[in-house]
Amino acid sequence: MSEVVAAHADEHHEPYTSTGIPTKKVLMWAFLGSDCMFFGTLISTHLIYRKISATVNGKYLDIEKIFDIELTSFSTFILLASSLFMALAVSAIHKGNLTSTRWMLFGTIIFGAIFLACQVYEFTHFAYAPGHELTLSTYQGEAHVFGSTFYVLTGTHGTHVAIGVFWLLGWLAYSFTGKMSTADAMDIECCGLYWHFVDIVWIIIFPVVYLMEYAF
């Protein structure tokens, strides 16, 4: 049984905009354009540094042995799958299907959380494990710039996912107040735009940071 929200008898019609696109959406797209530059800067920093680090002081850092590519592939799959839930959540709220919206938001949150958990595991096992080769800065007196860029890049992405998860949690909590209606569809769609964007960034980070170490 799906709980259908009664269409809100809204006396205020849709506000006029010059382009016909809701203003919040324009704002979100502008933000995402800006965010591209954030990740562009980080990814290019990593590409510049990844080979320098490996040979500093004549010591070669064997990234292939350090990465746990099975785990990262799994978490990549999970994050991509979460986009499906997000899209379904947006579709459900447009149709006014509150129950479905709630479940799909819940699914997105769970999958986002699984991804974050994998990243926390990765960080703790790489960065803080005593004597591990990819600690944040130096290992046995040997410096690795690779660690600097790797952690700041994936950490920034992880922060984005975490912000997204908290944002979605906010919506999930809001869905229980009984105030949620199709009037909120635009806000959830903006949230969805953000979530898909964060996914797309990971689609670039995964090959560039992880897979490339096995190829070149």
Binding site: Y16, T17, S18, T19, I21, T23, V26, L27, A30, F31, G33, S34, D35, M37, F38, G40, T41, L42, T45, I48, Y49, I52, S53, V56, N57, L136, S137, T138, A143, H144, V145, G147, S148, T149, Y151, V152, T156, G170
Partner: protein, 647 residues
């Protein structure tokens, strides 16, 4: 803003209190509460202007200290470290706390009026931008009072000056304040720019097509795009620097394999668009003023806009001309040299268009026009020396000499600041409802023009004969003395002019003896001049329907079918949003967060680093609480029922 004539309707019956203690301020707020909680774009614009003008005085005093130190050979007015701190803070303040917020003041105040909007798209976010800007200014200037004093790293903060291994003072906190200050200022600029983009794209009045928008709005749009695409680079560079200084990463630490060169690239990928972020608003202002005082439409309107957009676009492709002497290799150096020469073309196009506008016009030499003319001539001088720098062999000679100092001051004072003062003399009557004293304005212009040229023109020569910039003192006998003394005298004349100007601006809000301005004192051309001065809080009683470019002019002189029309009065009245504490609350959260981050680490008894994030977490919680409360409170509001043409 006077609203006596307007009938108020009591606030909608929504709950406006939190736990019956905390009442949301609304239209009845007065005095300091009104200013702290305002979300009106006009008041926010004025606050930006106020803080920026105070910073201008502060940064100017630092400049005068620098000039006093250079009065004669081997002076000791400032110690070497103090001198470094002065030029660092002077540069940082003038760029981030003066020119950018002055531009933001005009964007806020004028742009919504010019496109026929009642406010920006997200008024509370606009207030958050303002308070983040104030928080950033506080953080930056707090540095004077802590270990090591203000940063002594230059406004460019090149590595390894920022490297903890090379500090003059143990645990020098200056660079940390600089990093976090710029970070918060960047956040403020980004938020404001998203807002302006959404406003210009979506909130134009019916009929206000993009190609009917005043050039100033176009430049707002271009600059906003520059900010949202350029600031991420510096944000990430600063994050990396923060990690380097606090958490032992090696981004810029050359001893550990990092590359200081990378900082230069990231800084200038931001830093060069930043130059256009500073100058394009001034170009927009001048493009409004020159047609008004020549009594002719802007010559080549489309071309001026296209040139502005091209300048913005190409601004991202020339950053490495700041780095010709770093050894990038012949290909990269040549490419950036060529692109830098190319960017002179759209700039030249604009200058010819302004001259073309004046050609055959009935020119009136009021103060705004004088500043506009000063802008064109001085900016041209700065532009010419800029083209000289684009040639690599010439640049290699001029690198780090006073020639470069002369060049960018001609662009930033002769260009940007003259343009912004032009904007003040042009638009202050709209903001205060009173005309400024013309004689005083001309005195200010004369002092600034003479003082500016006396200060900076000799620097071309000083640079050519080899005086290095950013250097505390010079020896006698190099031929530097005479021109340095002339420059110092000029600096005090310029300072006097600016000070008188700033006092004149501030006093005009209170001075009752000034003539009332009326709706359109300059017989100007764009939509804001159809409104009363000062502008009513709701801007437009009825939404205008735009029929032409230069709508105010067409309404007065154009054929009847080009006169603007108005939508009928809405029987709901004009919806006005309530004031809000949460933008300020959230910005205070950011301020506490940053202070917590600045002081989070201390050195324990055995030399180990102790990290304590309590204050930072409290700040974060304040900020997040602010945002949650903000999203729950909604716009709120009340309705106004103005008379038909009471605007």
């Amino acid at each position: 803003m006077a609203t006596e004539s307007v009938k108020y309707v009591s606030p909608e019956t929504k709950s406006k209190t939190l736990l019956d203690i905390f009442r949301r301020p609304d239209q009845h707020a007065t005095g300091i509460v009104d200013w702290l909680t305002t979300i009106d774009h006009k008041k926010i614009g004025l606050l930006y202007g106020l803080v920026a003008l105070c910073s201008l005085i502060f940064g100017g005093i630092q400049a005068l200290l620098i000039r006093s130190q250079l009065w004669g050979p081997n002076m000791e007015i400032l110690s070497q470290r103090e001198y470094n701190q002065m030029f660092t803070m002077h540069g940082t303040i003038m760029v981030f706390l003066v020119i950018m917020p002055l531009s933001a003041a005009f964007f806020n105040f004028i742009m919504p009026l010019q496109i026929g909007a009642r406010d920006v798209a997200f008024p509370r976010m606009n207030a958050l931008s303002l308070w983040c800007f104030v928080a950033g200014a506080i953080i930056l200037n707090m540095s004077w009072f802590f270990t090591g004093g203000a940063p002594a790293i230059g406004w460019f903060a090149y590595s390894p000056l920022t490297d903890t291994g090379f500090e003059e003072v143990t645990r020098d906190m200056g660079p940390d304040f600089w990093v976090f200050g710029i970070q918060v200022l960047g956040l403020a600029s980004l938020l404001a720019s998203f807002n302006f983009i959404a406003t210009i794209i979506n909130m134009r009045a019916p009929g206000m097509t993009l190609m009917r928008m005043p050039v100033f709005c176009w430049m707002t749009l271009v600059v906003s795009f520059l900010i949202i695409l350029a600031f991420p680079a510096i944000t990430i560079a600063l994050v990396e620097l923060m990690f380097d200084r606090n958490y032992g990463t090696n981004f810029y630490d050359f001893l550990e394999g990092g590359k200081p060169h990378l900082w230069q690239h990231l800084f200038w990928i931001f830093g060069h668009p930043e130059v256009y972020i500073l100058i394009l608003p001034a170009m927009g202002i001048v493009s409004e003023v020159i047609p008004t005082f020549s009594r002719k439409p802007l010559f080549g309107y489309g071309l001026v806009i296209f040139s502005g957009a091209i300048i913005g676009f190409m601004g991202f492709a020339v950053w490495s001309h700041h780095m010709f002497t770093t050894g990038m290799g012949i290909v990269a150096t040549s490419a950036f040299s060529m692109l830098t020469m190319l960017i002179a073309i759209p700039t030249g196009v604009k200058i010819f268009n302004w001259i073309g506008t004046m050609w055959g016009g009935k020119i009136r030499f009021d103060t705004p026009m004088l500043f506009a003319l000063g802008f064109i001539t001085m900016f041209m001088v700065g532009g010419f020396t800029g083209i000289m720098h684009s040639s690599v062999p010439v640049d290699m000679q001029q690198q780090d000499t006073y020639f470069v100092v002369a060049h960018f001051h001609y662009v930033l004072i002769g260009g940007a600041l003259f343009g912004l003062f032009c904007g003040f003399y042009f638009w202050l009557p709209k903001m205060t409802g009173k005309m400024l004293n013309e004689k005083m304005g001309k005195v200010v212009f004369t002092l600034m023009f003479i003082g500016f040229n006396t200060t900076f023109f000799p620097m071309h020569y000083l640079g050519m004969i080899g005086q290095p910039r950013r250097t505390h003192s010079y020896n006698a006998g190099h031929g530097f003395e005479q021109w340095n003394q002339i420059a110092t005298i000029g600096a005090f004349i310029l300072g006097t002019g600016i000070l008188i100007g700033v006092i004149q601006f501030m006093r005009s809000f209170r001075d009752k003896s000034l003539k009332p301005a009326g709706k359109n004192p300059w017989d100007a051309r764009s939509l804001e001049w159809t409104l009363s001065s000062p502008v009513k809080e709701y801007n437009f009683a009825r939404t205008p329907i735009i029929k032409a470019r230069d709508q105010a002019w067409e309404n007065n002189y154009g054929p009847r079918d080009l006169h603007s029309e108005k939508e009928p009065l809405d029987h709901h009245g004009v919806h006005m949003p309530d004031h809000s504490w949460y933008p300020l609350f959230t910005a205070i959260g950011f301020l506490v967060l940053v202070i917590g981050m600045l002081f989070h680490s201390s050195v324990g008894a055995e030399g180990e680093i102790i990290r304590n994030y309590t204050v930072a977490i409290i700040g974060g919680i304040i900020a997040i609480t602010g945002m949650i409360m903000w999203s729950l409170e909604g716009p709120g509001g009340y309705h106004l029922f103005p008379e038909e043409d009471d605007e």
